[in-house]
């Protein structure tokens, strides 16, 4: 079956060992986690994981069900790129003297929509947000022209475009049903 990149979004309790529970399911199915991003969600006490992985549609569906089945997981779902607005952030550290010798800094900044975060005697730190191809594009161009001293790219973060039930509404529904019982 054809493989493509899926983005898995997981809402969980904020307990010790949640990442282990999630990664176990990927491990069992032999799926590589391509990117991972974890942070508190908009709802207090609930953490959000965004994971990307290469998979076929059948497997990803089963993986997400098996993650969702864990009792500490509140909700898990998956999307393809077309259904999402997504972003990554990358930081690039280059030597100041090399950077100044580039000559076409303005052009570069405009082309890639770069932000400059820091300039010291020794180094310049650039920031670029965008899709993987875009952050990689800047990396490639910089590498041709100078030495990149350090490079770091974040995991993907994503927001769903489709009209799906909000987690807070879902939790409210569960809560109100519980109060009826």
């Amino acid at each position: 079956m054809e493989k493509k990149l899926y983005t898995v979004t997981i809402f969980s309790e904020n307990h010790v060992g949640l990442l282990n529970q999630i990664s176990n399911v990927f491990t069992r199915r032999g799926l590589n986690i391509e990117t991972l991003s974890v942070s508190p969600s908009a709802l207090e006490g609930i953490h959000k994981f965004t994971v990307t992985t290469e998979s076929d549609s059948d497997t990803i569906e089963k993986v997400v069900k098996q993650i969702d089945k864990r009792v500490d997981i509140i909700k898990s779902f998956f999307n393809t790129d077309e259904e999402l607005v997504y972003q990554e952030i990358a930081l690039y550290k280059v030597a100041t003297d090399q950077f100044l010798r580039l000559g076409s800094i303005e052009e570069l900044i405009r082309k890639y929509n770069i932000r400059i975060l820091e300039i010291t005697e020794n180094c310049v730190v650039l920031e670029k947000t965008g899709h993987y191809d875009e952050t990689q594009g800047l990396f490639n161009e910089l590498s041709e022209k100078l030495t990149i001293l350090q490079f770091i790219r974040s995991g993907r973060i994503a927001i769903n475009k489709s009209k799906i039930e909000r987690l807070s509404d879902m939790l409210d529904k569960i809560e109100s049903k519980r109060n009826l019982e």
Binding site: E13, N20, Q21, N24, K62, V71, K75
Partner: protein, 561 residues
């Protein structure tokens, strides 16, 4: 109140009356508290932590109540891992309490420290570390809720030493809710109607019954459902005894060593109704050729089982106790006489070629099947059958017969050798008024043979039938059939099992000829005390019919001749 006493009170509040355990350094405070509660709990000291967890499984499977284990940290904890995995895959509710070093020593490779939560997360329903006495009451209530609701499973509570000795307030509030955990999905009427329509249009329906029916206490509902639409049904290994053996529509046992008729009919039916089962590969054989002609209606409480192995045409989510009657209401009364009768040609073939020969050995050697059937007959088919794993297991479940539900306790998903003896101890403790017959081979019996010590100390009236062929029989069978009779690592030189039983003061008998069998079984069943019946069986016995692993389920091997 001290943490260890909060644990005792919490267990009491959850209705626990039986505990299996084995003490050790980090759990001593809990055993110290238990000393004050010995009149409140029926506590059994096993001989190995593997025995502890399998006994708790046997107890849970027989009684329907969660099995409670208490063991120490480190090796005590790792010794229960197999049982936790077994309980997870066989949906058995367990509360496994393991000792843990104090929180200040966590992560330091302290003596007998092991990352129990990390190890058991992938193989348990829930694993939680109790780090302070304040958490005990809530953690226990949550543990029981999670272990026993929805699709049951094992819960691990890793109990740090400081939490056992600190003081906190005990309170009990039954847990009925855990955010994000939906134990049993609500019944969806549209799902019921869609499924009912498919079943109403069926000419050749076949139901396959799994343990979900037993776990949901839906045995009566199942029989009403099958009877109303005249649907023949067969069981998975763990679904056995959900229907009585003599129920008109009970067509036996499906899968690798199952009955011919339901396996063949799986690939002839037009609608396959899977009830509380998970299409395990031992049931399906090759999934690419499994029931391709049929519409699949899948009833399960666990949404992650739907479409996991076999794509369903229609699904019904929920507890079988509710979904089966809801479905029964919507289906039409029907007759499928011709279809039901069509099973008999394969039943006759299997009887002539396999069963009759197994039960009436001609060459003087005793077959496993005949021992099993004689024991089943002698208990009037009312006993609880506990098996080990291997040929003994397949012979036992094929030839034992059932009148009551919860009468088969066997390691299905994990296939754990050594399960039988401790599980039988647990089953007898859970159901003291029922006869418990445990069948094991010489291999599996020796994996947990130390539990004879538990039987001696606690006088557990388990009837043990050792089917001794001096081989690891199931592997030997596969070597005979598929590895050119190269019996690598399967021949066993065995001790005198009767002398071992004598040493444990267990009444015993050794049978080598058919003529002695009936009388020996009568002797075994003459009281409610422990008994070991050692039967020398055909060394080269084979279990048939057999569908080799991964083959189309209808590619059934039969004995030669």
């Amino acid at each position: 109140m001290k943490g260890s006493y909060i644990l005792m009170e919490s267990l009491r509040a959850e209705g626990v009356d039986t505990i299996f355990g084995y003490p050790g350094g980090t759990i001593i405070p809990v055993f110290d508290a238990l000393y004050d509660y010995l009149d409140k709990f029926n506590y059994t000291l096993m001989r190995h932590e593997q025995g502890v967890v399998h006994a708790a499984q046997g107890y849970a499977r027989a009684s329907g109540k969660p099995g409670v284990c208490i063991v120490t940290s480190g090796p005590g904890a790792t010794n229960v891992i197999t049982g936790i995995g077994d309980a997870m895959i066989d949906s058995t509710p367990l509360i496994v309490i393991t000792g843990q070093v104090g929180t200040s020593a966590l992560g330091t490779d302290a003596f007998q420290e092991i990352d129990m939560v990390g190890i058991t997360q992938p193989i348990s329903k829930w694993a939680y570390q109790i780090r302070s006495a304040n958490e005990i009451s809530i953690a226990l209530a949550r543990a029981f809720y999670i272990a026993t609701t929805g699709r049951p499973g094992p819960v691990v509570l890793d109990f740090t030493k400081n939490a056992q000795v600190e003081n906190a307030e005990f309170f009990h509030k039954k847990c009925t809710y855990y955010r994000g955990y939906i134990p049993s999905p609500d019944i969806n009427q549209r799902q019921i109607e869609t499924a009912a329509e498919i079943i109403n249009n069926a000419k050749k329906p076949l139901a396959i019954v799994g343990q979900g029916v037993v776990l949901g206490h839906a045995e009566d509902e199942l029989l009403k459902f099958l009877t109303k639409a005249d649907i023949p049904a067969a069981s998975t290994l763990l679904g056995l005894s959900a229907m009585p053996s003599d129920f008109r529509l009970n067509k036996g046992f499906v899968g690798m060593y199952g009955n011919m008729a339901p396996n063949i009919k799986t690939n002839e039916c037009d609608v396959l109704i899977a009830i509380g089962m998970r299409f395990d590969d031992r049931v399906t054989g090759n999934v690419n050729t499994y029931a391709k002609q049929a519409k699949i209606v899948h009833l399960d409480i666990d949404i992650s089982e739907i479409d996991k192995n076999i794509k369903s045409t229609a699904k019904i989510l929920g507890n079988a106790k509710e979904t089966i009657p809801a479905l029964t209401e919507k289906i039409n009364s029907a007759q499928h006489k011709e279809w039901v009768d069509s099973f008999s040609v394969y039943e006759d073939t299997e009887y002539k070629k396999v069963i009759q020969r197994e039960l009436n050995s001609q060459d003087g050697k005793i077959n496993m099947g005949e021992v099993v059937r004689k024991v089943s007959d002698a208990t009037n088919h009312n006993a609880i059958l506990v098996t080990d794993v291997g040929q003994n297991q397949m012979a036992a479940v094929r030839y034992f017969q059932y009148k009551q539900t919860r009468s088969v306790i066997t390691s299905g998903g994990l296939g754990t050798m050594g399960f039988g003896l401790p599980a039988a101890i647990g089953a007898k403790i859970g159901m003291p008024n029922r006869t418990v017959c445990m069948f094991a081979g010489d291999g599996g019996f020796q994996m947990t043979i130390q539990e004879l010590g538990t039987i001696l100390q606690s006088q557990i009236g388990v009837k043990m039938i050792l089917l001794n062929n001096n081989y690891l029989g199931m592997v030997r069978q596969l070597q005979e059939l598929f590895y050119n009779e190269r019996y690598s690592s399967t021949l066993m030189v065995n001790p005198n099992f009767n002398q071992i039983a004598d040493a444990y003061q267990i009444r015993n008998r050794h049978v080598t000829h058919h003529e002695e069998l009936d009388e020996a079984i009568q002797d075994m069943l003459s009281d409610d005390k422990p008994y070991l019946l050692v039967v020398d069986v055909e060394e080269y016995g084979l279990i048939y019919p057999m569908t080799p692993a991964g083959e189309t389920i209808t590619n059934i091997l039969m004995p030669k001749g």
